[in-house]
Amino acid sequence: MSITDQLLEAVLLYGLPVLFGVILIASVGVPFPISLTLVAAGSFVKQGEMKLVPVIIAASIAAILGDQIGYGLSRWGGRSLVDRITRRLGGAAKIKRAEAVSKKWGGTGIFFSRWLVTALGPWLNFTSGMAHYPWRRFIVWGAPGQVLWVVLYVMLGYIFSDRVQYIAEILGNLAWAILALTAAIILGWKLIRYYRLSSSVSA
């Protein structure tokens, strides 16, 4: 029996508390098949086995709370570890640069990694905490993104309630495609900058 089957059975049998727990744990970074769970929840709503508003509220709160746990762990646990390592081995300048990048792009990155490039979500929680990205801004950018993610996936499950597995499969592939495309855009931008730099030097 796969973990997906177990998760969905548990959601059906025990309802919201299980949904809440699963999303909370997944938002911290445990790779659960969370898209299928949310889409299936949407389908269960359509069939009258769950209620729409409680599902969206519980899932959103769980996702936002999970983010804060990931952020908090790295900010108050991970940061001191990094400081100790950089004191001994150096590299503080690099960390500073990472912080600057995080401060500049952090908000947009946090927002889009909640619902569009979801594979990066837990990872960005940790880097934001590590870089001491302001907590209030982390919540301001993160929470709407998480609510959007929950509403989007639950509604897709609600609309295509008779083909939950297909929708989840398509969403899973799309998520990877978007992740790869994001990487390609960043790398392509770097390449263009290299090219411009070298042609301006030689000119």
């Binding site: 299936a40 390592i85 495309l181 390609a184």
Partner: protein, 153 residues
């Protein structure tokens, strides 16, 4: 954490560059020979681009076959309500097939039902599929024919 490693690499990199720049015209080097770092970025770019195309194709493919592959494989987490909903048959047909009262509707996942009836999930799946085929024969609902959806991966 990665600092000493990066530092060592940086030294090698710089040594390599200074040696080549002695041998070659620095301007020509800038123009023609991409640095080690540039080649890595270029390879990573191509790799991520091909990955993106691969996953887009995988995501779009089920959309093309949307109408032909309507029937989802029956899984243990599904309820009879979901199976009936997904296969577009009345729920009472499935309840009857498993010898269960349809009011109130049985909301247990199929695996729970299988456990309670001391049957394997495969057995339950076969019974349900037979009932679905029967129901569709007597009351053809949708353009999609009863294919072989039980063949789950």
């Amino acid at each position: 954490m990665r600092r000493p490693y990066g530092k060592a690499k940086g030294h090698i990199f710089r040594d390599h560059q200074s040696r080549t720049s002695v041998e070659m015209d620095p301007q020509a080097l800038m123009m023609k020979k991409p640095t080690w770092r540039q080649s890595v970025v270029a390879v990573a770019f191509l790799l991520s681009l091909s990955l993106a195309i691969f996953f887009v194709v995988r995501a779009v493919r089920p959309l093309i076959y949307w109408h032909y592959h309507q029937d989802e494989p029956i899984r243990g987490w599904m309820t009879m309500g979901y199976v009936a909903h997904s296969y577009h048959v009345p729920p009472h047909v499935l309840h009857q097939a498993l010898g269960l009262p349809d009011k109130p509707p049985d909301k247990r996942p199929l695996r729970e039902i299988a456990k309670a009836q001391n049957r394997s999930l495969d057995e339950i799946r076969t019974v349900l599929l037979e009932a679905i085929v029967q129901a569709r024969r007597s009351n053809p609902p949708s353009p999609s024919p009863p294919t072989n959806p039980g063949a789950s991966p």
